[in-house]
Symmetry: C2
Subunit: 123 residues, 2 copies
């Protein structure tokens, strides 16, 4: 259905809040992550930096329950409609990873901070 | 601001309808496309298949007026909030490129077709 090989094994996956429509994040999926996501209905990505499956929320508890999976016309991008447990998708504690707006004078934080990362990721 | 070099020169850019919140498409930007988009406030992408700048709507007239530009926590993904001229982002005539839902029995078309591609792209 999705041509993972064409894309070098990884395709982008956009997670959108199923209720509000807010775009929460973009991550990557290989075939294994995609199939696990479909099977479990919990978002599973592939971490390019750690080079392994990344079950979103495995450390923070902030999992994403998958309500809908859509693919685009070229079948090389995935859109997940999710319910974000913990109300924040971003590891920096914001609701959405897209919490900064590009302005002529630089970046402006426009996102809503939901938690303090130090309290959630106890490293 | 965005580390294009880290990402091999291209970063994903998600276009979202500024009013409805619908995710319209995902395309790619190199530095030149990004800077043109900021300067002109019209979405300009980089076509991987044609290997050149792609001024969205240059053939169909269905340009995207850029209302807002956001970047994610890792500064390697762009989110554009746009007004889609012609009401359809997809070259297949759908409002959104994500017009198919992944169901256990296969793909189901759930998107709204706005135009007939044969009438718009006279090839």
């Amino acid at each position: 259905m999705i041509d993972f090989d064409k894309a070098g094994g990884l395709v982008p996956a956009v997670a959108q809040d199923a209720d509000s429509g807010e775009v929460l994040m973009l991550a990557w999926m290989n075939r294994e992550a995609y199939e696990e996501t479909l099977r479990t209905r919990r978002a599973c990505y592939f971490s390019r930096s750690r080079n392994k499956l990344w079950r979103k929320g495995e450390e923070s508890g902030h999992i994403q329950e998958v309500k809908d999976v859509l693919i685009d016309c070229d079948a090389d991008t995935i859109l997940l409609k999710v319910r974000q447990v913990g109300d924040a998708a971003c590891h920096e504690g914001y609701k959405s990873c897209f919490f900064r707006r590009v302005e002529p004078e630089g970046l402006q934080v426009v996102g809503q901070r939901v938690f303090d990362p130090k309290q959630v990721y106890k490293k």
